[in-house]
């Protein structure tokens, strides 16, 4: 049965599933008393999510990952939380950013996982589990490096509120090196966004200026 848009307090476990390499280690289905919260387009690899979170505009993912994103998400009928309002999605609510600031008196959200962790902490689950939240250094970039700290910040908040965190061996969160070696590794579904419809050699910022993106049907 699909979930209500309202969050559930006091769950046994909230599983946070992101798109890092260790995503596939997530249990196939949420155990009783638990929910699986997915980030971005993880539904393509793992459709059994209970809630989905996008912090950047979903059109980024339409361009890069899934040209049929809206149709596919609406078919899932799961609540989808976004930074802004997204009326094209059947079951949409905004990430409760103001509530989070009010609760924690701080705003350190450098990626969608940070929002998910903070929102999860507010629901007071008995435990948190992370899959695909790998924060690998080889993902590169100054911005990405800082994101690791943001994720760890919220892990610290959870632990100090008495919520234990279980993570995959391969994740770099609260560590400086990878411990596991991805046993039973599964590849992700390849990207199939709008940009995949143009020749590969033209997918660069210069040639892309020759292209225009237009809505099909009404924008709401």
């Amino acid at each position: 049965m699909s979930k209500s848009i309202e969050f559930v307090k006091g769950l046994d476990k909230i599983i946070i599933l992101a798109q890092g390499y260790s995503w596939y280690q997530c249990p196939e289905k949420a155990p009783e008393g638990a929910e699986i919260w997915g980030s971005n387009v993880i539904y393509r690899d793992y459709p059994n999510v209970d809630r989905l979170f996008f912090a950047h505009d979903i059109r980024h993912n339409i361009l890069h990952d899934d040209v049929d994103l809206v149709e596919n998400i609406n078919k899932l009928e799961v609540p989808v939380y976004t930074a802004g309002v997204c009326k094209i999605l059947k079951k949409n609510a905004q990430i409760p950013i103001l509530e989070l600031i009010n609760e924690f008196k701080t705003g350190f959200f450098l990626n969608v996982i940070a929002y998910m962790l903070a929102t999860a902490i507010m629901q007071k689950p008995k435990a948190l589990e992370l899959y695909g939240v790998d924060m690998r250094p080889d993902a590169g970039g100054e911005a990405y490096t800082n994101e690791k700290g943001s994720v760890e910040f919220w892990c610290g908040a959870a632990i100090c509120r008495g919520i234990p965190i279980k993570n995959t061996k391969e994740s770099y969160v609260m560590k400086t090196k990878q411990e596991g070696s991805f046993p039973g590794f599964k590849k992700k579904v390849p990207q199939k966004g709008l940009y995949n419809q143009i020749p590969k050699e033209e997918r660069n910022p210069f040639v892309l200026q020759n292209y225009i993106i237009l809505p099909v049907g009404t924008e709401i």
């Binding site: 059109r59 361009l63 809206v70 309002v85 902490i121 100054e142 800082n146 940009y195 419809q197």
Partner: protein, 221 residues
């Protein structure tokens, strides 16, 4: 248990002092119900209540402060270390076992990350960081991990309801060139007005279609 080791209860503030430039902003005169906790040779610039030397003290003496042992033995503050140093007058072993038991994690990548959990355990109203700047200029992988580690413990303090204050110069809880609300942006509608946090819609359009198409309209190269 920690009070038995000379820790005070009911502090308003614990000021944690690192070696970054913003240490200069730490008041010389200590506010009431406040303790100054410094690391390494910070005792030279501020009167600390507790000193933390998490490296081997002989290495610290060799690398940073030739008269370290002599100097700190002339002071009365306790010196927390990981090893047992009989050569120090007021040496106290860092209560590693109690800290790990309290938080259920062993995650310490620098001196500050040892000091923060111990400070959290004292339950002060505020933890204030001076000189803990974690400069973006120090772009090694090592430094990047340390920043995240300190942010982990700051999150821990926030989780416990302790207010954490950081100097403007510090990079902690920040990202270069962007705000800290992913997917959001600050706008100032008129000059002098307070900026407002709003969703950062793509193409500046808050309306979205179910599908989009991509069309080539010219062939420049």
């Amino acid at each position: 248990m920690l009070t038995e080791k000379g820790f005070k209860e009911e502090l308003d503030n614990i000021f944690i002092l690192g070696r970054g430039k913003s240490l200069a902003r730490c008041p010389v005169k200590k506010p009431e119900k406040t303790e100054y906790w410094g690391c390494n040779n910070i005792y030279k610039v501020r009167e600390v209540d507790r000193l933390f030397i998490m490296h081997n003290i002989y290495a610290t003496q060799f690398n940073r402060d030739q008269d370290l042992i002599k100097n700190i033995n002339e002071k009365d503050f306790p010196v927390y270390t990981l090893g047992d140093y009989k050569v120090l007058k007021n040496n106290i072993a860092y209560p590693m076992e109690e800290v790990i038991q309290e938080f259920g994690i062993s995650y310490f990548l620098n001196s500050i990350s040892y000091m923060l959990p111990l400070a959290i355990m004292q339950k002060p109203k505020n933890i204030v960081l001076f000189g803990v700047d974690m400069s973006f200029g120090t772009r090694t992988e090592y430094m990047r991990n340390e920043k995240a580690c300190i942010e982990f413990w700051i999150g821990g303090a926030i989780g416990k309801g302790i207010r954490v204050q950081i100097t403007m110069e510090s990079t902690l809880l920040k990202r270069r060139g962007r705000n800290t609300f992913y997917g959001m942006k600050f706008v100032q509608k008129e000059k002098g007005e307070h900026p407002v946090l709003i969703p950062d819609y793509m193409w500046g359009r808050d309306k979205c279609a179910e599908k989009y198409k991509i069309i080539k309209f010219m062939d420049s190269f």
